[in-house]
Structure formats: C-alpha cells, structure tokens
Amino acid sequence: MARKKECIAMLLAGGQGSRLGILTRKVAKPAVPFGGKYRIIDFPLSNCVNSGIDTVGVLTQYQPLELNDYIGNGSSWDLDRVGGGVHVLSPYQQIKGTEWYKGTANAIYQNINFIDRYSPEYVAILSGDHIYKMDYSKMLDYHKANDAACTIAMLEVPWDEASRFGLMFTDDDGRITAFEEKPKVPKTNKASMGVYIFTWSKLRKYLIEDEDNPNSSNDFGKDVIPAMHTAGERLFAYPFDGYWKDVGTIDSLWEANLDMLNPKANLDLSDTSWKIYGNNSVHPPQYIADTAKVENSMICAGCEIGGEVDYSVLFPDVTVEEGAVVKYSIVMPGSVIKRGAVVQYAMLADNVTVESGAKIGESPEQMADLDAWGVAVVGGGVMIGEHASVAPKIMCDNDVAEGEAV
C-alpha cells in the first residue's frame, strides 16, 4: 500500500480524437503539439502539480507509443515522485478476460485498484484535451465546503455556443438541479468543462453499480453523474471564469493556438507562478535574419526565420526561408517552408516540407464561397512540391507533386 493521499487525479487520455483527422493518425489527442512548445496534455498535468496533486494516473488506449514516450517518468512535470508521481494506465488482461476501456467511467472502474492503493478521500477526473489553467485545490476546497459527492467545473459560455455543451442548472447555492446535454435551444449557458472532483467512496460505489448495469454506456456525463443525481447525491457546480477551450476539432485547435497571441484571451503563459511544463527541446536559440519580418507571433528555439511571419505559432526547429510568407498558421516542429512559398490559414504537422512557390490555404476574404473555406491541414512528413497548392479545408496526408493542386 502506498502512502495515503488526500486527492489524486485520473487523466482521461485514451481518446482517438478522430475529429482532428490526420493530426491524430499516429498519436493520441493529448500528445498533439500545442502552443509552440507544448503538447495538449501539458496543461492538465501542469495544473495538477501547480495545484499540489502529485499522483496522477494517465489512462491511455489509442496510439499510446508517443504519449507514453512523452510522459516518460514524469520528470518534466516534477511527477517523478517517491510514493506517487505519474503512472500510465493502459487496459490490461484480467482473469475474467481482456477488455478495452469501454467508456470514461469504465476506464476508471478498471483502475479502482490503482486508486485504492492511495486510499484517497477525493479523486479528480480530468480530460486530456482541454487547454486551460486551473487551480484544482480551490475547486477541492469548494467541494469540501459543500460536502459534495461530486463537483463539476462550470463555465458560462456564449449563448450562441451553448448548444454544443453539456449544460447545468444550479440553485443559488451552486447545487446542480438539472442537466441538459447539447440541447438545440439552450435554456442556460452554464457548461460543464469536463473537470470533476468526486468523493472517492461515493464514486467507487457508483462505478461498481454502473458496471453492473448492462444498459449503461459507462460514460461519466451520460451515465454515472445522472445516476448520482437521480439518487439525490449532492452535486455542485464550481464556477470558473478563466480561459478554457476544448481543442477537439481542427478549427478549435487552430483557434486555441492563435488565442495564445491574443492578450485578451486571458491565458498568460509567461506567469512564472503557474508555469506550463513540458519536454523541452535541445535546440539552439532562434535566429531572425535581416530579411525577416516577424510580428504578432510565437516562435521557438531552433527556428531560422528569413521570411515573413505574421500572426502565427512556430514550433521548434522550423525554417522559413527568405521570401516565404507564413500567416495565421500553426507550424509544428521541424517543418521547412522554402523561398517564395505562402502558407496561410493552415496547420502544418511535424517535418512538413513546403517547396518554393507552393501555396497552402487561403484567407477567407479571398473566398467567393465562404462555406468552402476552412483551415488547410498538412500531415506529418508530407512534401508539398514546387508551385503546388493545397486548397482551404483540405486535409493533405500524401505528398503533392510539383505544380499539382489539391
């Protein structure tokens, strides 16, 4: 038995993230690069250590190789701890047979033994696909003060977006009175952020009951929490008002990256009291040449910039040659954009080569049909030939020959 912990975290990182298309072909969504030098999972993991949670189980299932490698022994987040730290939890063989994680609740159910080792009072259930900075210790205080069985972090979202979320109604004390899952016409704008704190003894009981229910889809939002609500457990909504974004789609991932450049977006990465940790590259400093013009952008170590970069996020070791233009784009590690190429409103995965004169994406102002516009995406290692072009909204996962247009 490990030493008792007051609160441990379980991070759901097994999802495929199919809406991210070719970006998650070989990696799980939490391992997708984000914000210049991070991966999505750096945000919840850093929140954990900054909140004083030193024991985290990371539940992996889909394409875990790169994610496991990235997490390593957890030292990047100070999670290589004696009697705690980060643990990667994959589905495993049992006497009764082998099961994949059937749903979010089942993933936790299958790891009851892991959680019991620490005999925690509370368990935080987190998602591996949200970008936000949050002090879980304050949420835990709120949970304890309310003597809650479950506390759900809640964000007031713009009304026109509310129908995309799981919504909650609360009374004046913050106690949840009803749920509404992605309604067509929302009657509230209080959305669940997918961040939960449970009293472990309660959750443990409901997980076992949920597993025994053959009609359950074994999902927290759809099954376990409604069951707790029906049984009259004390469920509370914890109001959060910082930056939060679900980066489950190409558009939201692109937007969230560019939000880093927006001082009004309320996500300050320079705050040394709440650092976002991750694996750091060993590249030399970035070099900005005489011919370069860089504005309103984030650029990382190892980049060599000779061209024009505006409103973009460049990951480590990216080359933008003289005369190339990168605008409103996200360029992941090791990509090269050669002389005279134009990349705009695009996301390039790692190690993409854009040969000279090629053109990727288009600005929405230039589009006759705005419905045809979208962020152009180029998959990892793809080569875009000289003077080739990639249209907006295309996901390009194969090399494009010289002069060809896709």
Partner: protein, 371 residues
C-alpha cells in the same frame, strides 16, 4: 577506445580573472553564452555526446551559480546511479585547501582520480567554445600512439597571461611550447583540452608534487617534451577561447553568422543545457527584429538588431536594442535605447534611457542593476 573508457574533468574557474565583470557573481563555467547556454555546457555536452558517463567538475571560486546550473546533471543525462556528474569543491579532504593553480586542483582531485576505473582522462577548462568531438580526439591519440594529446586552435592568440603556443612537426608532435610569447600574436595555441591515460596523469602529479612543482604547463608538459610523446590535435570548425570582455562580446556576435552556428550546433552532437520551461518567444505587433539570436521566453515589442537575447528578456514598445547582448530577464523599458551593451541578469533599463558603448568597447551592466 570509446566514451566508456574515458572520464572527464572540467575546471570551472581557472580563467575567472579574464572576465572579471561577469565572474564577480559567478565562475567561468556558469557565464551565460550564446542566448541560452552557460560556458560549461559546451565541454559537458562534448563529453556526454561521445558516451562519457563520469565527469568531475572542479569548483573553484563563486561556484554556487554553477552548482545551481548543473544540479543533478540530468540535462546532460549525467544523473546516474553508476557514475554521472561529480561536483568537486575545494577543501575536499584534510590537507587540501583552496585549489589555486591547475596543479592544486589536480592534487585536490586525487580522491576522485583514485576512484575512477576509466583508463583515460579528458581534462578541459570552461573558456573554450567549440563542439568537441571526443571520439575523433581519442582516435587521433591512438593513431599517433601519443602519451598526451593537447587540443589546439589556430589564429590570433587569446590575450591570456598563460596562453600556450605550440610548435608542431609534420607528424603533429609538439616540439616546442612557449607560454605567452611576446614576439608572436598568432599561431597554434592550446585550448586547455588535454587527453592522456589516468596512470600517466597520476604519475605526473606525484612526480611534480614531490619536486614542489606548481605549474602544470611549465613544470610538467614543457619539461617532458622530449621524454613523452605530446601531440597537438587541431579542433576542426568553430573554436574560440574567451580571453576578455571584448572577446566574450565578439564571440557571441560571431554566432549571428549561420556557418558558425551550424558548426557549433549540430544534430549529431547537440549542446545540452538546463531547461527553464519558458514559453515560446512572443513577437508583438510592431516588433522589428533583424539579424538576432533570440532564446525562448522573451517578449519583444520593440526593435532588436544585431543582438543576442537570452531567455526571458523583455523589450518594450518603442525600445531599440542594437549590437547588444542581453542576459536572462533583462528588461528594456519603453522608448529606451541600448547600443553595444552587455547586460547581466535581471538588469532593468528604465523607459527613455539611452546607453551606448562602442563595438570595440562594449558597456557592461552588472547583475540586477536598475538604470
């Protein structure tokens, strides 16, 4: 031989006195260099890149910042159960005091040397900046059947009081050594990287100690030129020795040249350093950066030209930075201007202030100063 057969020794402070401005608060090994490095990183990385897994760092003076920097040695993968990094301060055991000369250091390191199983020892200083390929150096040593190999560079002599000029024969054997000759200003000079068998090093130390000799170059190497096979290995590519503040400034500026960067920073032998988990550097609207080397974690809203910026530097709107080296967390206020300036860590230049040096006389602003 491979890295497994070699142990490394790095002297951190033999040349502190040639950079008094920067070493007032630190030792040579932890002097910031090249935007994100400390001088010790180059030798440490060279060693681990060839598989050396045991490195002793002899700490002389002002060594706290170097200890902070090296920590457990993990950034260089030297945090090991077997071997790894050894920080070796003076007053190591009874009878060993302040290190003083290189000979003093070696005597203080006898303990470390005696516990070293590796057959060869690579000894370096921290004042050379190069991407050392230890495998090549070792192969040269073996091919020549050398007793001692000294690495050297060619060109204008560094202005050091003990710069050692080598005369080599056609077979690269050192036939003469001169220390700080007055009649030469260029030539082949040793860069304080020395390679030999541990057994030979121990014998030389005991011999010198018994004869009361205190200077390794003068008393040990020069006197043994005939008896021992001492060979010179020319370091290929970019190799510079820091000899003064001016030299420090010039060598940093040389990194703005792509060829020099490509020679120093290679994918095969990366230069490792301590990580800080900084955010990416943010270029604001209206920022204008030309020909500059910039580390992560900076916020740039002003103009930066021909400069090297370390991590966490902030250049406010309207500020102009030219031909300057700004170390970690330097803050340049709105509409301030600096030209040919070296700022140490945590310097603040208040709004609208103007400070200017000359390219052959950069102004140094000490750690934490507010101007």
């Amino acid at each position: 031989m491979t890295g497994k057969d070699i142990a490394g020794i790095i002297y951190s402070s033999n040349y502190d006195s040639c950079l008094t401005e920067s070493t007032a608060v630190r030792t040579m090994g932890s002097v910031p260099f090249g935007g994100r490095y400390r001088l010790v990183d180059f030798m440490l990385s060279g060693m681990v890149n060839c598989g050396i897994s045991k490195v002793g760092v002899a700490l002389g003076n002002n060594y706290r910042s170097l200890m902070d920097h090296i920590g457990t040695g993990r950034p260089w993968d030297l945090s090991r159960k077997r071997d790894g990094i050894y920080l070796l301060p003076p007053y190591n055991f009874s009878g060993v005091g302040d290190y003083g000369s290189k000979m003093g250091v070696l005597k203080g390191l006898l303990d470390f040397l005696n516990h070293t199983q590796e057959e060869y020892i690579l000894m370096t200083d921290c004042n050379a900046v190069c991407n050392l390929d230890v495998e090549k150096l070792g192969a040269f040593h073996e091919a020549k059947g050398a007793d001692i190999t000294l690495a050297y560079a060619e060109g204008a002599l560094p202005q050091l009081s003990d710069v050692t000029v080598l005369t080599l024969d056609g077979d690269s054997r050192v036939t003469d050594m001169e220390i700080a000759p007055k009649n030469a200003d260029a030539g082949a000079y040793a860069v304080n990287i020395m390679f030999m068998k541990k057994s030979l090093l121990l014998r030389l130390i005991f011999d010198a100690s018994a004869h009361g000799q205190e200077d390794f170059e003068r008393d040990v190497l020069m006197k043994n030129l005939q008896k021992l096979g001492i060979y010179g290995y020319k370091i290929p590519g970019f190799c510079r020795v820091i000899d003064s503040l001016q030299g420090y400034y010039d060598i940093n500026m040389e990194l703005l040249d792509k060829d020099n960067r490509d020679a120093l920073f290679t994918d095969e032998r990366p230069v490792f350093t301590r990580v800080r988990d900084d955010m990416p550097t943010v270029y604001g609207i209206g920022s204008d950066v030309k020909n500059s080397l910039i580390a992560d974690g900076c916020i740039i809203d002003g103009v930066v030209v021909n400069s090297v910026l370390f991590r966490g530097v902030h250049v406010a709107k309207g500020a102009v930075v030219e031909n300057s080296i700004l170390m970690q967390e330097t803050f340049i206020g709105e509409d301030a201007a600096v030209n040919c300036v070296i700022t140490d860590k945590d310097v603040v230049i208040r709004p609208k202030k103007t400070i200017s040096g000359a390219e052959n006389y950069p102004v140094y602003i000490g750690k934490g100063k507010v101007i």
